[in-house]
Symmetry: D2
Subunit: 338 residues, 4 copies
């Protein structure tokens, strides 16, 4: 059964969200990692952020990925992220904990923590910076998957940053070596491979918040990306419309995602943009990006907040139902009488 | 109004296809260019090919593109393609004639021919091989668009082969310089730009036959690619289902396109594969690829024909309606009770 | 025996240059192709250009390459280049005629012309624009080499523009298939491969005028590039110093090449820059680049001429011997007492 | 004054090497980082390695770079490398300590350690993995250079692994922001930029052991790379010949470097190859590469040792003087009577 639209609910956790018990499907925000001035994970901010996103319809989370600055966190910071998100989401939505690190030893440690922290799955970048052979990639993944025990293992396919593309032929080798391999976050530009991975029986999340509906029509189970953390209600409603077969409504919502994606990409400082906007929404200082990750200048920060304000991202408002309906009707007319 | 499904009609032209009078929308095959042994365009084969595709639901054509080996044709060959397809399609479906060439002079000549031949539009690659400045690209396009007179002008966005990506900022410069610029064939990997181009008011065809439905949900008006020439009925039916808002049917058909795409990409010899398969379907020798464009070995050719036979591409059969319905019902169940 | 330095000789052909009779060694300018306003090769300008370069120490020529706009010339234009340069250089220096074209048929025609025109060798780009398999590349080259008969065949390794890199493993396959394969123009960024190709017994010219001396120390026999056409005396003298084992003089000249390279790259319009500068030097209008190859605006043209004037490229002057000697002494001091 | 050739000295430290007191010039090995089974830096092995390389003519060292697995070392491991190499090299040769890390905080810590450990300079990768703006790159470098105090600061230009190329225009921005910027290790493919950086007054080391002589003729002060750690005597002698102006001897030695480079690149496992070979030479187990850095299988290890044995890298032997002289004479003949 499709979940009801979540438009208009306020930012406190409510009972309207159905516990999904480790179901890997739908819209998973990839939130930033709030940090304090002295370099610890800001627990209160992180809890508030996760509650906010769940209340607004998040189907699950992808923690400590690229927007979460995972590969640059200290091991203690990463452990804290796993522990806190495991606690907050327990019995509510699944947490996929990203554990990729520059060394296998560090990724293995993170995988152990994720398991004991109650995360629903681990996900891992392939080796990065140092060029890697297929054997190294497989051994890296095996060590991490072993450390995660029976948790499902997800591949993180992000060739733009790792220079390693998990093409289907390589994925088959991973699948043969790793019994717990269950899926991937596909952030590679090759859109057609979503279908190929789905045909392999993998749970394929698209990693690009710019096209959640196209990805669903292609065989993805959902989308994981940073914009979902800023506007989870919009993505959740799109997913509901898709599940209900209401293509005109889904298309109208798809047409609207671009503005959230453009917001997140402002000044090429994604983690900083997300922290700045969520600080304003939550009323808790989520800190700033960790150097050398790009950060906003004061002027850029003001501009980001101005745009976010205009998009209703800082103070989410119940959307006027008639507004959305008008949009949907326009889309229906366009589809039927083109 | 949506066109009726074209499943089951035979390969002769019929009156079931509605003349679209230069409407740039739907599924446009990008056919190969049949040639005779002595190096002329094989007029009879080309006429039969176009009739076949129209009968099977093609919404229009994209002639002398990459699969059509346009940039390697002699000027006489290219002129013949424009003249023949203009004649065959007149009053039936629009022909977008690709006129891109390594020199501006040659592209200008082709644009003039396209106009006098009754083509509905011209499309053009940016300068290739020699690195080009923005000014050179704009001047190249202006010269070609001028030569095409009042015909709509389409950009061909194919950075994989030209090393020039028409990103939205560049497209805006083209639009300012060229009053007749109406749209593009977007074959770049950046799937998200489809939405951006649509928001600019451009007619955006996706150039990738692997994801016609996702492209439509993203704002594309249709798809142009080689597989559409081999299985036009499949793509036409998908487009009809989309226009009818029947998302389960459209999704079931989308799930099926991969096999046609894989066929076309066999042995990385797309024009040769298309000629070999269409020769078998039409019963007319369409010739082979023009050297040095990749060609199939005898063994590879046999394998291609075997696969094509298995897919029903050589002898298109009326599909059993209950088969498709079963697929659609499976898709509906998957969507509604996931 | 080393040729004498050619400093100070004027721009008319003289008897000081020793006929090299098809010896592939030294500094080979890659000149532009002068054209008339009505689109023919400007024979008088081309003859003057070749005479000028020979008089200033050119060891041979590389005609109709990238700077020569070879792949964009009409077949008639290319034939004229082969005929004229064959005639002018006969008994003086060897002409390597570049015959690469987008179609095999066109490259084959050019190879036949090169042979009958008295060129010393042919050189050929691999297939470009259309992706090519190894088999296609080999067959393309075989057809062209066959057409050239007993003329030595050179590979043109220019992956920046062709997307095909002739790595050593591929070169070995070419060598097995083509008995007349004798060498290459190596314009790929991989500087280390010069040594590998030399170790394979190939005549390896560097294709980058920025580092003639490093290439010689690496095993190249010389350099082929556009700047050599603008300042042949400088490169010729460097080569003489190298052959004489006068490393301080060679190094001092190497330090000076950058200014000629920077001139040629001004405004990314290499063929146009070369034509504009040589027009001024020869006093004959060499025409302009062929669209869509980048061309200079009027203002850019003035700036190019101003810089060329300052470098002594427009009116070559006998260099003050004491100036060069001072430079050489500085270099010697730097080397010996670092 | 040129240092005497070091051919024939055995692998124990001797008094024949002249202390260079922080002179950044010549041949700097980039050694691997020996580790113990329990994950500490193997102090005894590292001391022996540095002594061996100094005895064989190393002009200085580049520690904890890519071959030294710097970015994957724990902070404690990196500190140990700085401390040990500072001690061993004090008063003998300069140590350039690479401090680049994925986070600015970690690189800053390493820079402080390098300074207190007596290293002669620090070098640093730009931000990697996370995309960086120019401002982020400059701020990252400023923080690291500040932490290094008055130590000279070197840029590490390695776009193959960082996706950031320090082109001359960017280098100028670094130079304006960082008063202690003195030079770079240039490992980018763009060979011509060596001259540009030298013209900017920077100390430019080539980062590619395949072409030490070409780099010197281009304006580099020397070479830094992994093969120099395996065959320091060969590179040292080449540098001596260059300084003595003996180009035939330098060229003969340049012709010979390829075999050492090919050794280091065997199986794309550079750090592991270096550790395995140096373990055999020093008679101390240097450990293996740190996962996921590529490692050799048992069979590959045997093959590496077999090749290294054949090259005289495991038991360096006094080379027969007449052998080298014969080579030099051949080179001289080739140069003079080509």
């Amino acid at each position: 059964m499709a979940r009801p639209p979540v438009i208009g609910i306020d930012s406190q956790p409510t009972e309207t969200c159905i516990p999904m018990k480790h179901e890997f499907k739908g819209m998973f925000p990839a939130p930033p990692t709030p940090v304090t001035e002295d370099g610890r994970v800001h627990e209160k901010a992180l809890r508030a952020l996760l509650d906010d996103n769940i209340a607004h319809g998040a189907s699950g989370f992808w923690m400590a990925g690229t927007t979460g600055e995972g590969p640059i966190l200290t091991e203690d910071q990463r452990d804290a992220v796993a522990r806190i998100s495991g606690e907050v989401c327990k019995g509510r939505v699944p947490v996929i904990m990203h554990v990729g690190a520059i060394s296998t030893a560090s990724a293995v440690r993170a995988a152990r923590t994720a398991r004991s922290a109650g995360c629903a799955a681990v996900c891992c970048l392939p080796p990065f910076f140092f060029p890697s052979s297929e054997r190294s990639r497989i051994e890296h993944y095996k060590a991490v998957a072993d450390a995660a025990g029976d948790l499902p293992f997800f591949v993180y396919n992000l060739p733009q940053l790792t220079q390693v593309e998990t093409v289907p032929a390589l994925m088959e080798k991973f699948a043969r070596a790793i019994p717990t391999l269950k899926g991937l976050k596909h952030s590679a530009p090759n859109f057609a491979d979503i279908r190929v991975f789905a045909d392999m029986g993998l749970i394929c999340f698209s990693g690009n918040g710019a096209f959640p509906l196209p990805a669903l029509t292609m065989g993805a189970v959902g989308t994981i990306d940073a914009p979902l953390s800023l506007a989870p209600w919009h993505y959740a409603e799109l997913f509901s419309a898709w599940e209900a077969g209401d293509i005109a409504r889904a298309k109208a919502l798809q047409d609207g995602v671009r503005k959230y994606v453009d917001l997140v990409w402002m000044f090429y400082a994604m983690p900083d943009v997300c922290k700045v906007v969520l600080s304003a929404r939550l009323g808790i200082d989520c800190g700033r990006s960790i150097p050398p990750v790009n950060s906003l200048s004061d002027e850029e920060k003001r501009e980001v907040l101005r745009v976010a304000e205009g998009l209703g991202v800082i103070k989410p408002q119940p959307r006027q139902t008639q507004d959305l309906n008008a949009e949907v009707q326009r889309t229906q007319r366009a589809l039927r009488n083109p």
